[in-house]
Each structure stands twice: as C-alpha cells, then as structure tokens.
Amino acid sequence: MNLDIAAMQAFSGLSLFAILLLMVLGLALVFGTMGIINMAHGELMTMGAYVTYLTSEVFQRYLPGLMDAYIFVAIPLAFIVTFLSGWIIERGLIRWLYNRPLDTLLATWGLSLILQQAYRSIFGPREVTVPLVSWLSGAWQPTSAIQLPMNRIFILALTTVVCIGVFILMFRTRWGLRVRAVTQNRAMSGAAGINTKRVDIMTFAFGCGLAGIAGCAFTMVGSTSPGAGQLYIVDAFIIVVFGGVQSLLGTVLSAFTLAQSQTALEYFLSGSAAKAAILVLVIVVLYFKPSGLFTVKARG
C-alpha cells in the first residue's frame, strides 16, 4: 500500500465515521437518554432520504436554475418532516409504552414494517436516485494520485456542523440541562420542577429529526429504497451499545473506532470477513466492559 492509497483509505474511514455518526446521534439521544429502543429509526432516515429526493424533483421541475442549492433546502426540510413525524410517533405510540422496553421494541418494529410498506406503495419498490449537483459530484485532487469525493467532503462538513449544534444544545442550553437531568434521574428532576413529559417529546422528536438529516446524507452516497433503513439500523445500535449507552462522547469515539477499523480491515480482508471481525471485536469488548467503552460514572 503506497502513501496515496493510505491517505485515501484514511479518508474513507473518516467519511464512514461521518455517515455513521450522523445516523447514531439521534439514536444515541433516544436510546441513550430515554431508554427507548426505536427500531423505526432506520425508516425515519429513509424518510429523510425520500424528502431529499422529493425536494430535488420539485427543484428540477419548477426551479431548475436553483438546482445547485436544493440540498440546502432539502436538509432543513428533511429535519422538519422527520421531527414532526417523531412528535406524532411519541404522542401516538411511545408515550403509552414508557418503562416497557420490550413492548416499545415490538411496537416500533411493527411501525418500521408499516413505514417500509408505505414507502413501497408511495414511491414504488425500485430505488430512487437523488441527482448530484455539479459542485457535489466529482472529486477534489490535492495531488494527482489522490482523489477525495466531493460528496463525502460535504457530508464530513455537515456532520461537523450537526455535531457542534448537538453539543451546544446539550451542554450550553437550558433544554440540554433538562435533558441531562432527566437522563440521570427522572423522578428527582420531576420533583425539581422539570416537565419531564415535555422533555421526552422534544428529545424524541429531535432524535428523529437528526435521523432525517442522516437520511439526507446517506442518499448522496448510498441508495434510497423502501428497505434502505434496515441496512443501517443494526450498525447504528452496535455503535451506541459499544460506545456506552448514556454517553454522547462515547458514541462519537465508538463510531470513529468502528468506522476506522471497518475500512482498514476491509482493505486487508474481504468485505464479509471484515464485518465478521468487527462483530467479534464488539463481542469481546462488551464481554469485558458490559456497559460499553464509556460509562457515565454515578455514585451507587
């Protein structure tokens, strides 16, 4: 492996990290802080992807001159649509099932199947393609032998912005403070005057909104089909569990570790063997550290 390839491999790992992180941030919020196993998270990502597709279609038909900028409309739109869906799901389904993790798992699994079939009926079973605008297609060439795909650079930037946004929200605002308080001790925060119900709705809807943005990103590199969310949901849960369920920083580092090892292993092994190796690694780590790499220290 020469230096150019090594550089591109490292970038591949970084790019996979960015995509995975976008996917798991929302899941980490919902699963980590609220303890809800949301099996429909993948379908919410797919929803974001379909919103992106629809936006591009609308721009192509009515505003072809502004086509280059459609992605900047698609991202907030994907967030808003999935945020509202999350709100509805929380009010209509999840709130009846708090503190019943297994029931939530089954209910959201059912919801994911319903959503998949709905996409199949609305958009058809075939994959849809989001056209890549000119400035996002092609590659940036720092040297003649190194090509870094523009869309991946864009996703990297998007992830950075979203991450900074989430961290500011969580650690610099009153809302974040409330979320963290509710995570640590629901009963106590309720007694201290925090409206835990409101926090739950907002957190869940916000987590779903992040899934929408992730969908927006993965449709740029992957494929958008009714079942696309299923491909990512297992990886996403592995990352959250591996990183330590209640730690956002743990999630970030876990996504980084798994993405880099995945791409590195893929280079030296075959794709399937790399996947198996990653799963063995996760199993071994979880055996010795059952609550994940990073755990929130709490006095018992």
Binding site: N2, F11, M150, S223, K275
Partner: protein, 396 residues
C-alpha cells in the same frame, strides 16, 4: 360437521364421483376443446424482490394477449392465473402447489431468484408440472420439468471476459455481492482469464445490501486493473456506481462490465451514474430488428411510453411463445408431452433466434455487450456472431 352430515357428505361425494367416472371421458374432451387453458404466472409482486420481478408479469400478459388475439393455442384461449410469491421462498412453494393442484395449470412461467426456483422444484416434480424460468442465472441445474429461457453464467461471462481482454487489456479486478451467482460467475471468469492469458488483480465480495465501497475502490485504484468485472446486485449497485463516479473512476480507465445490469436496473441506479459502464446481456431494448420494434410498440402502447424493457422481461415474453410452440408440436397440453416436444424448437424473438437446447433444455441464444448511454439505454458495441450453446455445468 356432525356424524350424520359427514356420512351424507361422503355418500353424495362418492355418487358424484361415480357419475363423473362413467360419464367423464367424453365430457372432458368436449370441455377441453372450448375451455381456456390455464397458464400460471408465479412471481413476486410484493416484497423486496418485486423491484426486479413484478414487471415480468406485464411482459407475460402481453404475450398471452397477443396469442389469444391470434386464435390461442390448439384453438384454446390462454387464461393467466397470477400468483404472488411475495419475495418469500416458502410462499413460492405453496403458490406453486396451488397452481398445480388446485388450478391445474398446464404450465407455469415464473420465479426470479434461484432460491425461489429451488423451492418450487419439489412440488413441480411431484405433480409432473412444467416451469419456464425466464431469468439469467448461474446454471448448475438441469431439472427435467424446467425449461430455462435466459442465459446461464457461461453464456454471458465468457464473452464478457474475452471481449474486455481484447478491447481493454489483460488485467481484471472482480467485484461481486456475496452469494451464489457472483461466486459462480467469478469461478468461470477466472478460468476464462487464465485461458486468454489475462491476470486477476483482485477478487472482492461485499455482503448483500452493503453500500460502502470506498475501501474496495481504493483497492481497485491500488491494483490498477484494465477493467472491472462486476456482479454487484440490487441497492448495492446504486452505491457502487455512484461511489466509483465520485472517486473519479468513470468507466474509461479502468472500464467496467457487469453481467446483471439491465435497462430496468439503470432506472434505479440513476442514468448519470450508470453512463459509460458496460453490460453483457442477451437482450437490450436498443436492438434494431422488426421483431423488437413490434414488441416494443406493443409493450409501450399497453403499459406507457416511459416503461423500459430489460432482459428478463423479454425472456419472460419469449417463454410464453416457447410454450405455445412446444404445445403445438406435441399437440397436447400435458407437461411431459410438451417437454418431450421442446427439443430444438426455436422462435424468432425480439432478441433474434432462441432455440431450446436438446440435451439441457436451456437455450441457444446470442449475447450482446452494451455501453450505457446518458438516456439510460445501451449502445450495442458487440454481438456474438452465432448462437451460443448453453453449458450449465462448465468443466473448470
């Protein structure tokens, strides 16, 4: 049902049976000459495989209607019985059983994936039924109740490798999804590469459904092959083509050829992503022949001008005509008579002559190599000079 009822039921039932037995024979022959004959169409109309498979039914129905309009088969109209395999092998087996035992279909055109076909075989053999299987696949099967109407692996892989080696160079990189078709194709590809003096620079498999190709693309860049032979399927293909383009590999160097990307798949992959990559197929929509023009006019007239036709759809359409010819030659709808009469029969299909191979009941056919255009169609850059003999059990 109580005791009385059951006894009563059995009594009436058996007397009816006796009546049928005595008077049955002339009745049945009389009915047979006028009543429509049933043809089962067994495909996934729902579920994940419906993406590729549902459109086959459209092509089959078109063929049935054309035949009915011109008088049917042996004076009888064809009545299609559509069954949904629902992308589930157990459902395929159950639906095949219903078609054969309840509906008493004369033949079935059906299945897409090899696993669904394998699931149907036991019922098919027990009932001495007849299945026309219209999808390109890996071969390595010869069931006497099945007629395989598309190309098996050697028919497309061997010409692909030979042509690419001649046109692009000796060094090849093999990429495939991790299941039986790519594995068999690559086995054949490697033997062919060795025979023509080429060199395999790498062989990679990705799990089904995988959408991350950056590592494989880097491996391809490091290996510097002259061309890539791809057997990536489904949603993975979308990601693969997209990421190749984004990484600056646009099909000029290295070139890329696939033996499973049809016009239908390109609709999902995106035209701009697929442009510049090669495919090897028996049928392309862009074939210029009076038969194909007639077929396309009929198909688009019925289903809409925007519909595209891919290789499996044309093979599904051909299957109905091959069945008609077999029945007419046998002068019988009994499956085993049709099977026996099918040796060497041929039709002039949209893709040209298709002839059933006597020994294997696969088909002799031409294959073509096409280069994907910006409009999602293929420019045919090569066509096999003769019909290619099927070879489902290649010696390698």
């Amino acid at each position: 049902m109580n005791q009385m009822d059951r006894r009563h039921f059995i009594k009436t039932g058996s007397s009816m049976f006796a009546l049928a037995a005595t008077a049955g024979t002339p009745l049945i022959t009389k009915a047979a000459s006028t009543e429509p004959v049933k043809l089962g169409l067994l495909h996934s109309l729902t579920g994940t495989i419906a993406i590729a498979e549902a459109s086959l039914v459209d092509a089959e129905k078109l063929a049935i209607d054309e035949i009915n309009a011109s008088g049917g088969i042996l004076g009888r109209k064809i009545q299609p019985i559509v069954a949904d395999g629902a992308s589930d092998n157990a459902t395929f087996a159950q639906k095949a059983k219903m078609l054969l035992e309840r509906d008493k279909v004369a033949a079935i055109v059906g299945c897409y994936t090899s696993s669904s076909r394998k699931a149907v075989l036991p019922t098919l053999n027990r009932n001495k039924g007849l299945l026309y299987y219209p999808t390109y696949f890996e071969g390595e099967e010869e069931d006497k109740q099945v007629i395989y109407t598309s190309q098996e692996a050697t028919q497309s892989v061997v010409p692909s490798i030979e042509w690419m080696t001649k046109q692009k160079g000796k060094k090849v990189f093999l990429v495939g999804s991790d299941y039986i078709y790519p594995r068999v194709c690559n086995k054949i590809a490697k033997a062919t590469v060795a025979r023509v003096g080429g060199k395999v620079m790498g062989e990679e498999y990705i799990p089904l459904g995988n959408t991350e190709f950056s590592s494989i693309i880097n491996k391809i860049k490091a290996a510097k092959p002259d061309y890539i032979y791809s057997t990536v399927v489904g949603g993975s293909n979308v990601a693969f083509y997209k990421q190749l383009k984004a990484a600056g590999l646009d099909g000029t160097s290295p070139a890329l050829i696939s033996t499973l990307v049809t016009e239908d798949e390109i609709d999902g992959i995106g035209r701009q992503n697929a442009q510049g990559f090669y495919s090897c197929m028996g049928y392309f929509q862009s074939i210029k022949s009076p038969e194909n023009a007639k077929f396309l006019k009929a198909f688009k007239g019925r289903y809409g001008q925007n519909r595209v036709v891919g290789d499996p759809m044309e093979c599904a359409y051909n299957s109905v005509y091959l069945w008609k010819l077999g029945v007419e030659k046998a002068k019988s709808f009994v499956p085993n008579d049709v099977i026996a009469a099918s040796d060497n029969i041929q039709i002039n299909a949209p893709e040209g002559i298709v002839r059933i191979h006597k020994k294997t009941h696969y088909v002799w056919k031409k294959v073509r190599i096409g280069l994907a255009r910006p409009d999602g169609q293929f420019d045919i850059v090569w066509e096999s000079p003769n019909l290619i003999e099927p070879n489902p059990y290649p010696k390698i």
